[in-house]
């Protein structure tokens, strides 16, 4: 059932792969027009969280919602409002760009020309007949990003969107995220690039071992980590916060003040 235009919601979502817990029950909300970044070491559960929201894997417990639609109970309605950029390519390499654009346009219920236009806007208008196999990793990423944001999406989820991109490509990703935010979409992305996080995120969730150990603005996280807050530049501060929260003993931050392990963020 639709609970209203609430962007992205995770309520007590947990995941186990067999006997191995991958995600502790976590709760997180991304409001429309808000950008939240997930940071943390490999294996922290960032991708698992995003893939549950995209409906690619199924949660073992809890409820994940996109635009108010439960991704497990109403997957098609939820995905209709979702743009998702996976970490892996996610389509066959032999796929021709124009064919993919037509498919995504049909899926989102927009005219086929809109897909071609989105690619043209991304500077890929002359590559409609090219198979992805003949494109660079950065170009492929731009194709998928352009198509992920096609149509009236209310939520955008990106898993390591800047990975393998050059400076220009990374700026394209940041522009796409800013554009989605301007359109009122809730944006949740995972990244190891702290510069992206510093430039884009309204809030940052720090994940360790399947838990969100802290979530808040840069200043709130700095406070949590006991690091003096300064306005600029944010990136070194985020790095210090990251190191303190991720590499330090997590229990040291297990205070009622900011830590959200197993609780609401």
């Amino acid at each position: 059932m639709n609970a209203g235009p609430s962007g992205i919601e995770l309520v007590g979502v947990a995941k186990r792969f067999g006997e191995r817990p991958a995600l502790a029950p976590l709760t997180l909300t991304v409001a429309p027009g808000e950008v939240v970044a997930l940071i943390g070491p490999n294996g922290a559960g960032k991708s698992t969280t995003l893939r549950i929201l995209a409906g690619v894997i199924h949660a073992s417990a809890g409820v994940a919602r996109i635009a108010g639609w439960d991704v497990a109970a109403e997957p098609l309605r939820a995905r209709l409002h979702l743009g998702y950029l996976p970490q892996r390519l996610g389509v066959p390499l032999s796929t021709v760009v124009g064919d993919l654009a037509r498919l995504v346009a049909a899926a989102r219920g927009v005219p086929a020309e809109a897909g071609a236009q989105a690619l043209a806007d991304a500077g890929l208008g002359d590559r409609l007949d090219a198979p992805l196999a003949q494109m660079s990793g950065g170009q492929r990423q731009r194709v998928l990003l352009a198509l992920a944001t096609l149509g009236p999406i209310q939520a955008l989820i990106l898993d390591e969107p800047s990975i393998s991109l050059d400076v220009e490509g990374a700026e394209d990703v940041r522009d796409a995220i800013r554009a989605a935010r301007r359109r009122g979409a809730a944006v949740l992305f995972a990244s190891h690039h702290l510069s992206d996080v510093a430039q884009l995120a309204d809030r940052i969730g720090v994940m360790v071992d399947g838990h969100i150990v802290a979530c808040g603005t840069v200043s709130e996280l700095a406070h949590t980590a006991g690091i003096p807050w300064s306005e600029r530049p944010a990136e070194p501060l985020i790095e210090r916060v990251y190191r303190a929260l991720v590499r330090g003993p997590v229990r040291a931050f297990d205070t009622p003040l900011r830590v959200v392990r197993g609780g609401a963020a």
């Binding site: 792969f17 893939r51 995209a54 409906g55 690619v56 894997i57 199924h58 098609l76 309605r77 995905r79 209709l80 979702l82 998702y84 950029l85 996976p86 892996r88 390519l89 996610g90 389509v91 066959p92 032999s94 796929t95 021709v96 064919d99 993919l100 037509r102 498919l103 995504v104 049909a106 899926a107 989102r108 198979p131 998928l144 992920a148």
Partner: protein, 270 residues
């Protein structure tokens, strides 16, 4: 999202693949080769007619088409695990599987029709058009077996989750269907009284798409004429409704694995 959009997407991919023209050429060479080889033992190189070519080609088809379809289906099914971007689109995941099956079935059927059709033109020109309908029936049976093999292969691929495992299981299933079932049949005949063995063999025919296609083919070609006592026994075994029963079994072998593959893909984590 409509079935049509997914079908067009998968069809475009299947059509561009180099595999289709190669298979068309392979089918054509096989058909012409069988037509020529049938009479070469008599010391002359002459093209045999449609009836004999069809029966000879049936056996070849029963070995090669399931192998081709199972392997291709298994690889395509295993690849579904990697379609994370497509799986996040607002379409039921089962439609991805169905679109893939439909596109590859059409592409390979086109290869089959092109290959056997080209050979048919040669046979018709050199040996006459008598029994051409039986040859067309053979193409139809091969297409049905192809569709069933692809559906079964897709299910194997989706369930196996890796290409290597999917291919291994597909080869094992092919062996079981093409050779293992015959061994079971022989064992049944040896071990059971004639009446019970008859029921057992009938069940085996229905439980195995390759045997169903074989029996259907022999029946359509006048089994007692072209396949001797074996064919006559087969006709007695199946009775008047035999062809309908076998065709229904083949269709079931398309629908059931396809539904199982779609359901499995919809429920599993990618």
């Amino acid at each position: 999202m409509t079935h049509a959009a997914l079908f067009r997407f998968e069809w475009a991919a299947a059509r561009r693949g180099r595999i289709v023209p190669w298979f068309a050429a392979g089918f054509a060479l096989a058909a012409v080769g069988v037509a020529l080889a049938g009479l070469s033992a008599g010391g002359v190189v002459r093209v045999q007619g449609f009836a004999r070519t069809s029966v000879s080609l049936l056996q070849l088809t029963l070995w090669t088409v399931p192998m081709l379809a199972l392997l291709l289906g298994a690889v395509q099914g295993a690849e579904c695990q990697e379609l994370e971007f497509l799986a996040a689109l607002p379409a039921p995941r089962s439609r991805l599987v169905f679109g893939r099956w439909a596109a590859w079935t059409l592409a390979l059927t086109a290869a089959l029709v092109t290959g056997f059709g080209a050979a048919g033109l040669v046979i018709g020109t050199l040996a006459g058009a008598a029994d051409a309908l039986r040859y067309l029936a053979l193409i139809g049976i091969a297409a049905a077996l192809l569709a069933a093999g692809l559906a079964l292969g897709l299910w194997i691929g989706v369930a196996a989750r890796s290409r290597a495992r999917a291919v291994g299981v597909a080869v094992a299933v092919w062996f079981a269907l093409v050779i293992g079932a015959d061994l079971v049949g022989i064992a049944l005949l040896a071990a059971l009284p004639a009446r019970d063995a008859t029921w057992g063999l009938t069940a085996l025919l229905i439980a195995n798409p390759v045997d169903a296609a074989r029996a259907l083919g022999l029946g359509l070609f006048g089994a007692d004429v072209v396949a001797g006592p074996t064919g006559a026994a087969l006709r007695r075994l199946l009775g008047g409704q035999g062809a309908v029963l076998l065709a229904a079994a083949l269709v079931t072998w398309i629908i059931v694995p396809l539904r199982l593959a779609g359901r499995r893909f919809a429920r599993q984590d990618l």
